[in-house]
């Protein structure tokens, strides 16, 4: 697989691991927050953490779109199907996310709701075109990466005059979440020495969008791709910044990210959506100006207006530590429910659902490690 295998080369990984181990100062700790679920996934799937020196630790960030979506929004989506009989189209890993009262989209579907898994917003449009008698609602979630396709869907629906299509908009913004985490860091909160910054999100918003991280919070940030070698190279760049006492934005993911980002995509978003006053994030609470809603000019395609429902209760399962895990304050294994009543088969919290969720990644790829064989430990050291 060209353009992919190059970034998964085992020999290069071992060389990078040796360099990181050689340069990391044994007298200090390196607590690096990987912002995105994509990073978490790569770290666990490829065993990157095994290759790091013991004083370097990855702290999981909130960048898993299904994990930060508050339960109440899923409650509301389910209510749209039951109260208004709409067809709900959504991305795959949202299906199993727990809603209140141990419900989920998957269970609602089994109980008769018309909920369909889609791969792209175009599938939702096609669904609406095929069946003009049905009201099709796109349950749109995700960070800035998945927002432009929703904007395109809104414009297409408008241009075609599709009357049975609307969008339940839950798109969220990365910089306010990052600011939210960093404001709560420090004593009692999460300890972070540097940040592996979003990769796909940054292709849209550009590296300039993170200037506040070193300026306001004094933390270095390296925009890191999602392949395992990207993560490792970015880790080395952060180690070097920390060692040299530098604190700037650096871009490891230069093959895709520019300082200004994708202007066309941002223009699409600006034309169809506006920033909400505030939005609730799972784990981070209500954050001001942290999410998008449908712009007034497209209000007729806004599912929240077309199919009003009561605000969801969003009652979390007692004991679920997803909120703390999402802030990086706790490790998944610190949660009392982890692996006991909360497993991927029967998730209590959203972090156990998506393979990008920190709990699911811990469970699937590393909940138990055999004592490493001498040869491998030697190679990693």
């Amino acid at each position: 697989m060209k353009y992919v295998d190059e970034f998964r080369d085992g020999d290069l990984a071992r060389r990078l691991a040796r360099t990181i181990a050689a340069e990391a100062d044994p007298r200090r700790e390196y607590r690096l927050m990987e912002f995105c679920g994509g990073h978490t996934h790569a770290i666990h799937r490829y065993g990157v953490a095994d290759l790091m020196p013991p004083n370097l630790r990855f702290v999981h960030g909130p960048g898993c779109p299904v994990c930060v979506l508050p339960m109440a929004r899923i409650d509301e989506a389910i209510a749209m199907t039951s109260e208004h009989g709409v067809t709900l189209c959504t991305y795959g890993d949202l299906m199993r996310v727990p809603a209140s009262e141990r419900r989920s989209l998957l269970k609602a579907k089994a109980a008769g709701a018309d909920i369909r898994m889609i791969y792209s917003t175009q599938d939702a449009l096609a669904c609406a075109r095929r069946d003009p008698a049905r009201q099709v609602v796109l349950f749109a979630i995700g960070f800035e990466t998945t927002t432009p396709p929703t904007a395109v869907a809104l414009q297409s629906a408008r241009a075609e005059g599709l009357r049975n299509f609307s969008v339940f908009c839950n798109h969220v913004l990365t910089p306010p979440a990052l600011a939210g985490i960093l404001s709560s860091s420090g004593p009692g909160g999460v300890q972070i020495d540097g940040i592996l910054g979003p990769s796909h999100v940054s292709t849209v918003i550009g590296s300039n969008a993170y200037a506040f991280v070193p300026d306001r919070f004094g933390k270095p940030l390296v925009i890191a791709g999602f392949e395992p070698l990207d993560v490792m190279q970015s880790t080395l760049m952060l180690v070097r910044q920390i060692n040299q006492g530098r604190c700037v934005i650096e871009n490891q993911y230069t093959r895709a990210v520019t300082p200004a980002g994708n202007r066309k995509a941002r223009a699409l978003i600006a034309a169809t959506m506006t920033v909400r006053e505030r939005f609730e994030w799972r784990g981070l609470g209500w954050l001001p100006a942290s999410a998008m809603r449908i712009a007034d000019a497209y209000a007729d395609l806004d599912a929240e207006q077309r199919f009003p429902v009561a605000a969801g209760s969003g009652r979390e399962v007692r004991g679920c530590e997803c909120p703390s895990v999402l802030r990086g304050v706790l490790e998944p294994t610190d949660c009392k429910l982890f692996g006991v009543v909360c497993t991927p088969e029967n998730p209590m919290g959203a972090c156990m659902v998506s393979s990008e969720g920190a709990c699911a990644a811990y469970w699937s790829y590393g909940r138990f490690r055999q004592p490493r064989k001498t040869a491998r430990a030697g190679a990693a050291a």
């Binding site: 679920g37 799937r45 290759l51």
Partner: protein
């Protein structure tokens, strides 16, 4: 094709031939009346012809062969019904033949139960049954009994086929999922994930272009060649739904052992890896319909590998890891990076990731 509900009367004439070009299945084809008899005679029996079906009884009578019998049953509900490299008809034969073959058995007979949805074009049904007959003939088995039911439109997905197979196990062969012991070698017979990716490529909402075709095929002859080389095979399993990862977890649990595999040793076609990358799937969990996992004592692994590679259906076989002692019964994989990851049971359906 005999039918359990309806004794077949003596030969009869039908006023018009079954319209295999324009016609479609309707409720009368399952009602036990003349229309059903015509469907059985002019479609099923025409393709699957053999003395047992021709006898027209409610049951097929066979002489039990000497030795232990292997019996297996399997329901097939694939969508779409026709896919690159096969269709539900051939799949219904291969799936059950392979389940029988995984005991080291030589498959002898199949029975088939069809659940048809009202409105299924008879041309499609004809194609499915013809394909089933060809697959059965190629595998050397006869479809000796069957049943047809029709459900109302919207209550089925075109066509469901359940097949039951009977085979005979040669003396001295004891292959079973609980026989893996620490130190054993783990082999696979070829490239992983072809079937699942071929199916996905034809799903209406994906429709990506790929040259990958399903690997659907009967494996009993490969198994026979393997047993000739290494009679003391410990376990065989065909990694269908849930893929390699699921089958290895099943075997680990059954045998009370752990498994250690190497990512670098897994045979995955670049096109399958690319499709999985694009769709956010893991090839370890993607279905196969013509591959097997074999576990044998380590000293015989090289002999077994050579025997598999000498057979056309095992040309791309590989040794992928070994059985280890592990009270947790985990399947672990050494990644290309030299790190370790757990290859877990699949939780629910494999769902694509959003990012």
């Amino acid at each position: 094709m005999s039918d359990q509900d309806q004794p077949t009367p003596p030969p009869r004439r039908f006023t018009a031939r079954l319209d295999l070009r324009q016609g479609s299945v309707d409720m009368s084809h399952g009602s036990g009346g003349r229309a059903m008899a015509q469907l059985i005679e002019q479609l099923f029996r025409r393709h699957l012809d053999n003395p047992w079906l021709a006898a027209g009884n409610d049951q097929a009578c066979v002489l039990p062969p000497p030795g232990r019998l292997a019996v297996s049953t399997d329901g097939h509900v694939v969508a779409p019904l026709f896919f690159p490299g096969g269709d539900i008809g051939s799949l219904a034969v291969h799936g059950t033949v392979n389940d029988i073959a995984m005991a080291g058995a030589r498959p002898l007979y199949l029975t088939a139960s069809f659940i048809l949805e009202e409105g299924l074009p008879l041309a499609d049904l004809d194609r499915i049954v013809a394909s089933m007959a060809a697959a059965a003939a190629a595998a050397g088995v006869s479809v000796i009994a069957g049943d047809t039911k029709v459900v109302e439109r919207g209550h089925g997905d075109g066509c469901f086929i359940s097949t039951t197979g009977i085979g005979v196990i040669p003396d001295g062969i004891t292959i079973s999922g609980e026989r893996a012991v620490p130190g054993d070698a783990i082999l696979v017979s070829g490239y992983l994930g072809d079937h699942g990716v071929a199916i996905l490529s034809r799903r209406e909402n994906l429709g990506f272009e790929t040259e990958i075709t399903s690997d659907s095929m009967a494996l009993h002859d490969l198994v026979a060649a393997m047993l000739a080389a290494v009679p003391d095979l410990h376990c065989l399993r065909d990694p269908t739904r849930g893929g390699l990862a699921t089958s290895l977890n099943e075997l680990a649990l059954q045998s009370g052992v752990g498994m250690q595999i190497r990512e670098a040793a897994l045979p995955v076609r670049p096109a399958v890896a690319a499709a999985c990358e694009l769709l956010g799937l893991d090839p370890l969990y993607v279905a196969n319909e013509g591959k097997l996992i074999a576990i044998c004592p380590a000293p015989q692994a090289a002999t077994l590998l050579a025997a598999m590679r000498a057979h056309p259906k095992g040309r791309d076989a590989a040794i992928i890891g070994e059985v280890v002692a592990d009270p947790h019964h985990f399947v672990q994989m050494e990644t290309r990076f030299g790190g370790q990851r757990i290859v877990d049971w699949l939780a629910g359906e494999q769902l694509p990731r959003i990012c």
